[in-house]
């Protein structure tokens, strides 16, 4: 059984590394050198994330995001390095629920802005149904491109109402493509898909100060129809007079929701990381632990990581991992592509451990474990002679396709061909 030792490790990266070693990327097994080994992180726009207190933060252009996600098992927030693809957000007024674009569906109500929001500002709204004769709701049209499944998300917080509802409704077809009913108990939500509605609730994220972000899929969206994002502060009983807090309605032309995009962030740009990798091709392993947040979107195009291949991803020789109905690795030497794949489709927000080993003869094998469960090992496949050098001396993270990955830990090592248990033992020891 190969045992990983510090001298086998070429680099480590990720949120866990930052919390333990002080920076997102370190050479070898520890921060051994004061002359540092640094990442080049680029993103041509600002982006948002959640800090360890559970509150929203904004990262400036090109600044990495230390995103903290609550571990449902321990209840503790754990650090990740948020890596995302380009995302154009489609709700015209994601925060200003008093804007003209948000129209009243029926009844009488009030929309009171200036409420404390999850980002430490005062851009949230308290929306109240003040009319005991109708169900007060507001709606805004979302213009999608292309039919199919779409990612949606919104922040909600308990007001005086015991129930809050949010829908993406196709008013042309008279169908809810997504609908979530939030039932409040002492400010804590219980969510369920509204009866008859389509879509799925992917996650309910706790944020600070009573806020929760609901992320979901809207299914069967027909872009040519009129699709309305509808906020209902109460239940659907006309006599209800109560209120709920809302903030940050988002929708995307993509399968999965991503990080929050406010009115100043209509388009969040592609995130890309380049790490120096001045090492020759040889037997190596690459372990990556991350949250599955939608790498399956953009089948076959995304690159979770790649060695060589140049900035455009086209150079050879190169080695990379993509998702094309399943995770798999590709070794491309002058157009001769060999591949090792692993069956198993992670669900949204699963904690994925993906280990790729490549032997000195180019034989590759993938191992996958979900949520700390038993690993499944793919069939070894794809031996070919390793090249003398990679096409460039870089290790790339994300930067191509629809990668949506909060990265917990990346370990790139040489010489040994460890099992997943070996890697986990090394992590436990370090």
């Amino acid at each position: 059984m190969p045992e990983i030792r510090p001298q086998h490790v070429l680099l480590q990266a990720g949120g866990e590394i930052a919390a333990r070693f002080g920076a997102f990327v370190i050479p070898g097994a520890g921060r051994q050198l004061i002359e540092e080994f640094k990442e080049a992180h680029t993103r041509a726009s600002i982006a948002t994330f959640q800090n360890r207190d559970g509150r929203g933060q904004v990262a400036a252009v090109d600044k990495p995001r230390p995103h903290w996600i609550r571990n449902a098992g321990s209840g503790l927030f754990e650090p990740y390095w948020w890596l995302e693809s380009l995302r154009a957000q489609l709700v015209p007024d994601p925060e200003n629920f008093g804007a003209a674009g948000w129209t009243t569906v029926a009844g009488t109500g009030t929309r009171t802005g200036g409420q404390a929001d999850p980002f430490g500002g005062t851009s949230a709204y308290l929306i109240a149904d003040t009319d005991a004769a109708n169900v007060f709701q507001i709606q805004e049209i979302v213009a999608f491109t292309g039919d199919g499944t779409k990612g949606v998300a919104i922040f909600v917080k308990a007001g005086s109402s015991g129930e809050t509802n949010v829908r993406l409704r196709d008013t042309t077809a008279g169908a809810d493509r997504f609908g979530v009913k939030v039932t409040w108990t002492a400010g804590v939500p219980t969510t369920a898909v509204i009866g008859g509605a389509g879509g799925a609730i992917l996650a309910v994220e706790p944020w600070g100060n009573g806020w929760y972000r609901i992320l979901g899929n809207a299914t069967g969206v027909v872009a040519a129809n009129t699709n309305q994002f509808i906020l209902t502060p109460t239940n659907f009983t006309a006599s209800s007079v109560a209120d709920s807090y809302f903030f940050g309605a988002n929708a995307w032309n993509a399968l999965y929701p991503s990080s929050y995009q406010g009115p100043t962030l209509a388009t969040k740009q592609l995130e890309s990381v380049v790490l120096p990798f001045p090492y020759a091709p040889e037997a190596l392993f690459v372990y990556m632990k991350f949250r599955e947040r939608g790498n399956a979107d953009g089948v076959g195009v995304s690159r979770l990581w790649r060695i060589g291949s140049n900035a455009d991803g086209l150079g050879t020789p190169a080695l990379y991992v993509t998702y094309n109905t399943q995770y798999g690795t590709r070794l491309n030497v002058g157009g001769n592509i060999t591949s090792g794949v692993i069956a198993g489709t992670p669900a949204y927000d699963d904690i994925v451990e993906l280990l790729v080993t490549m032997a000195a003869n180019g034989l590759m094998q993938c191992t996958l474990a979900l949520n700390g469960g038993a690993p499944s090992v793919g069939t070894a496949a794809g031996a070919q002679t390793l090249p003398a050098a990679w096409s460039d001396a870089n290790f790339y993270l994300a930067g191509m396709g629809a990668v949506l990955t909060p990265l917990a830990r990346l370990i790139v090592g040489r010489s040994v061909q460890p099992s997943l248990a070996d890697v986990q033992s090394y992590i436990a020891a370090s």
Binding site: A23, A29, Q32, K38, N51, R52, Q57, P79, S430
Partner: protein, 275 residues
Amino acid sequence: MSDPVLLIENHLSITQFGLHVLTPSEEATGTEAYRVADGRRSPLDRWTGVTLNVEYSLKWAMDRPRAADVIWCDRGYVCPRLILEYSDDNFATPAQAVFDITLPTASMPGSIDSAFGVRTEEGCWIKRFPVRTASYGRIRIPAMGAGLKPSIVGLMVGLSWTPGPLRRPFGPDRNALVVNETPTDSGWLGRGRAVKRREGSLGFMTTSECDYALGRYHIDHFDRGRPMVIVPNDEQAERSFVAVRQPPVHGLSREPSYYYEQGELPYVEWEPRRR
């Protein structure tokens, strides 16, 4: 826990981190902001400004997101209340608040994790907080009142290292008396002012190769003569002191009797308090 805590990293030091930039709300000639991390402990070497009764702030912009979990303020500070904040957009949007503390005015036994931090026996202040990772850090010192302004002699913020129990013997109170003395012909000693200076050695015994890999980074800073805050016992942070390495060759090595690295790092207290 009763483990030692070592703080060597200082994100405010432009010697350690040459690409970091300090930006004070104001600074006066002779009391510039860089002096908080220049290694000098004299109360005359400090950061302060001119304007009275206003909020002072000192921001450090880092070259990459860095994690920190300990803050230490050198003796001689005039700072009744301290706010520590982090940001990833240069404080353009509401910052990530770490704490807002009224500093204790007296030294008493306390854990490094205590809510208000601990004033040490020599008059420094230290506190450990849940680890933060961000690109920008900032302290704020709210207006102190009419006719008053803050003053900071030394400030360290960084990621600490808890190496595990130190090898025995370890005596954080072992010290030398530093004094000029001249014996008279009657055998009496004529002495100048005497200073107690702690000296000793940190004995490490790593328990794995990975242990050593992490420690090398911190030891490397120490090896270059940079001051290190030594908290001998995290439950008794009031006994913390600052030390630098002694010149002779030292370091961790593998000995015949034990597989992993072990060894001694001799230290001497850095600019001890005179009294």
